[in-house]
Amino acid sequence: MYEGIVQELIDELGRLPGIGPKSAQRIAFHILQTESVDVTRLAEVLTEVREKVHFCVICGNVTEQEQCSICRDPRRSHATICVVEEAKDVSAVERTREFKGLYHVLGGAISPIDGVGPDDLRIRQLLQRLADGTVTEVIIATDPNLEGEATATYLTRLLVQPGLRVTRLASGLPVGGDLEYADEVTLGRAFEGRRVVEP
C-alpha cells in the first residue's frame, strides 16, 4: 500500500482490463517518473476521448461523428453487413481488405453466465437495419469461441427472412481464440470461404 493519491492511481489502473496489481504499480511509477508534459498530454487524450468519441448511431462502431467513416463512405456496399462482437473486430476485418460492405457491432456475445442475454446486445438495431430489404447478406463474424458460436447460432435462428442470406466465416480460424488475434491472411481466407448457415 502506498500513500493516498499514489495508491488511488494504482487502484484505478488495476481496474483496466488485462492489468494486474503488479502492472498497475509499474505503470503508476512510470507515470510518476515521466516528463510532466507527456503525462499532461496523456490526461488530455483520456478526457478528450471520453468527450469526443462515441458509438456510430447506425453500426455501433467507434467514431467522433454521428456516423462512422465506414457508414458514411458511399463506395461501401449497402447489401452486405458483417456482424462482429466488438469495435476492435471491425479494424481486424478492415485489415484483410477482403470486405467492402458495412458492419454491425453487437457490443459483446451472449453469455448467460455473465448475465448477458440477447436483449443486452445491439440485436434489435440489427433487425431494424434489415427491415427494408436492402441488405441481402449478413456475415456473422463473431469470435470462434464458445460464446461467439452460441451467438451465431442465435442470430442464424433469428435472421430467417426471405431474400436474406446468412453466412458464417469458414472454419480454419482457431477455436477458442479471439477474432482480433487472427492474422490478415487467415481472416481473409475465412471471409472468402464463408458458408451459408441454416437454423
Binding site: 453466465i113 464458445l146 477458442g176
Partner: protein, 234 residues
Amino acid sequence: MLRTHKLGEADRIITLLSRSHGKIRAVAKGVRRTASKFGSRLEPFMVVDAQFYEGRTLDIVTQAESLGSYGSDITGDYSAYTAASVMVETADKITDDDGSLQQYLLLVGALRSLARKEHPVSLTLDSYLLRALSIAGWAPSFGDCAVTGEPGPHTVFVAQLGGVVADRVAPPGSPRLDSRTIALLASLLSGDWADAEAADDRQQSQASGIVAAYTQFHLERSLRSLQHVDRTTA
C-alpha cells in the same frame, strides 16, 4: 470445464470441476492467440484430462487432452447452450475445493445428454438442478410432507420448507400445484424419463417454475444465467 475469464493479452483463467480434487482454478497461457493447441479444449462444457504445474498464485495448465467434446454440439443449439450455462454456473456455485465425485459425474452426464439431445432440453436442465441440489444436501420432498412427514400426496410446494407440505402446515395463500406436476418433479428427481416426457407443456412449464424457485432459494438468488434460459424449443 466450468468457465473462463480473460486474463491479460492472450491468457485465460479457467475454472474446472475435477473428479476428485474439487474445483480448480488455473491459468491457460496463450489460448486466445491463434496458434494455441489448447484453445478449443479449454472451453466451458468440455471434458478434459488436464495436467498442471504449480504457479506462483494459480496453477498453470501444461497439457489438456479431450475426453468429451460437447462444446460444438451444445453451442449449435441455442436452448442447449443456455441450459448448459445454468448447469456450469450451478456446479460452480455449489462445489468447493473438497471435491464431489457425484457432482462431477452428474454434470458430465447432463452435458453429454444435452450434446446428444437425449431428452428435451428443459427437462434435462430441471432434472440436473434437482439432483445437483440433492447431492448438495437440499433434496426436495415430492411425496411426504417436508415438515411433518405425513404421507402424500400433497399439492402445496414451499421452497423455504423443503418441498411439498401438508395443507395444515402450508402458509396461507400458497399456490396449489396440479398433482401431475408433482409427479413430474418426482420423475425428474429420480430420473424416470419415460414418465417425465409424457407430461404436457403446461405441467412442464409449471415444474420448471418450481425448480427455478427452489434453486434460486438455495443459491440465494445468485444464478445469473437462469433468467436467460431459452425454453422455446422442445
